[in-house]
Symmetry: C2
Subunit: 312 residues, 2 copies
């Protein structure tokens, strides 16, 4: 697992933004020997200092332009709402023939805001690794984050196939499974499997926090499996998630509409005492769980919502 | 951890219903030597056969009345909706001076339906261990389930304090922390920390299953952290959860009302592009998470929604 690949996929890789994803990418790149050199840049001086202190990236630069200079692959790892501005900033420094990519959780918006800045001769290949934890920042990364996770490539029109193939090899080298998907479909799928669930978890934790008759300490002390999982989800980075909802507005609002429709039907079943409706609904949802386990995307080991799996 | 206690807390314990909780209780009782003999009964013959095959309980009986005969502690471990009927069935066979308890997730309803059947001289002490996994059935239990989890005792009026104390020692012997709480407050707290989150998770998984433009295989393949956690929650026992919602109707509907109110406010912020509202909300919910970790009810180890914690 820690053996370097026979030869690097890119001579030089630049990571712009040094949070959970970029820092995990660096450790995964290093582990597999996927790049000759990795440069890094973060807007915050504190983040750059931290990166230098923990040895994140071969070289931390004090400007984005400096970091991308001469890079064969530039990956934007900033919140979705900042992608356009960062692309504008680095565009003049991009090397002809380089590949520009990103790791944003929303793809249509990134394509719309980044594409206008991509110089002639630079290959723009948006991507989205479906991997993460509830932690954020340069110290939260680790080489195994992408292992057996999916990374979706969302090539724009007329992208050079060889640039896509090379990026695919790069992500595979970091342990990911790679698929290609169209941007709007990506945004809809993610609204279902990630964005709406996050919004719902944030909402439920907020409700608990608001409820004055149930004290905060009771909510914390007696947090059972359901709620505890929600608090973990709702501990994710606020800036990243604000940007996701603002930029994947249409799909999120559509899925939210479907969600409230179903929720009201279940609420009505509770109010009218329709046990059959509840039972049938709860039985049906078990099948999806089985599918996820069979697809190797989760284990059937019992979870206590408290990390006891490794100990049990 | 596997050393027996100096002496049993009860000479004979009867477990009625042999699912996740009862089977975990048996292994925990056995591990700590908390009872001289444990009898068990389940309505389904298949379950009784399985229990006999795996050595669950010292003796499996073919009727509930036989199982409770001579027992010093009888614990009802059936779905909340079945408690009253089972109590009626065993009442004539209960030993004078015995303690009757249950492990239901809703307490007001259990008290209302069980109390009328409790014979004079039998101590009724409702309880609720806040522990579980997404698995169910007699083979899903394990001795560590209650370790460091809370068990809430909800004594009814005029309960003999010595009976409550003894049940407390019993649960502590199984590894649980024990608190007492009033029934209605219990039902409200649990509506927040467990019941409503489960309903929401079931709903979201149902929505994903319904959505024809996103195929099931895509939902499964690309299930990211948020949704994957929801599918685990939504894999819980349908009968148990149907009963919980039907019997904790008032509190669940109240919390659902608060939830949709907040959700609509966030939905509106997305629609109007109010990033500040979203950011503030998402920042506030992080504090509760920290509290839960500080209270030792979860770990800060990153979770991937796929049981990788123990491996990382």
């Amino acid at each position: 697992m820690s053996l370097p690949a026979t030869k690097p996929v890119y001579d030089r890789v630049a990571l712009i933004g040094l949070g959970l994803i970029a820092s995990s990418m660096f450790w995964a790149i290093q582990r597999a020997g996927l790049a000759g050199e990795v440069t890094g840049y973060a807007r915050s001086e504190t983040t750059r200092d931290t990166a230098r202190r923990i040895g994140l990236c071969d070289r931390i630069c004090d400007s984005a332009a400096e970091a991308v200079e001469g890079a064969d692959l530039v990956v934007l790892c900033v919140p979705v709402g900042a992608m356009g501005q960062v692309a504008a900033e680095i565009a003049p420094a991009l090397k002809p023939g380089a590949t520009l990519s990103d790791v944003g959780s929303v793809k249509r918006h990134v394509i719309e805001t980044v594409s206008p800045h991509v110089p002639e001769g630079v290959h723009f290949v948006p991507s989205h690794p479906l991997a993460g934890t509830e932690h954020s920042g340069p110290e939260s990364g680790f080489a195994e984050l992408f292992q057996n996770r999916w990374c979706l490539l969302v090539p724009v029109e007329d992208t050079e196939p060889s640039a896509v193939m090379r990026l695919r090899r790069f992500w595979e080298g970091m342990g990911a499974n790679v698929d290609e998907m169209e941007a709007d479909h990506h945004d809809l799928v993610l609204a279902v499997t990630s964005h709406t669930p996050h919004l719902i978890a944030y909402t439920m934790v907020g409700v608990a926090d608001d409820l004055r008759r149930v004290t905060d300490s009771e909510v914390i002390k007696y947090s059972a499996a359901g709620f505890r999982d929600f608090t973990r989800i709702a501990a994710s980075d606020p800036t990243m998630w604000r940007d996701i909802f603002l930029t994947n507005k249409t799909a999120t609002l559509e899925i939210l509409g479907r969600f409230t429709e179903e929720l009201f039907a279940l609420q009505r079943a509770i109010r009218t005492g329709d046990g059959q409706h509840l039972f049938d609904y709860f039985t049906r949802t078990r099948a999806i769980r089985r599918g996820i386990i069979e697809a190797g995307q989760d284990t059937s080991a019992p979870d206590f919502g408290r990390g006891a799996k490794g100990k049990a």
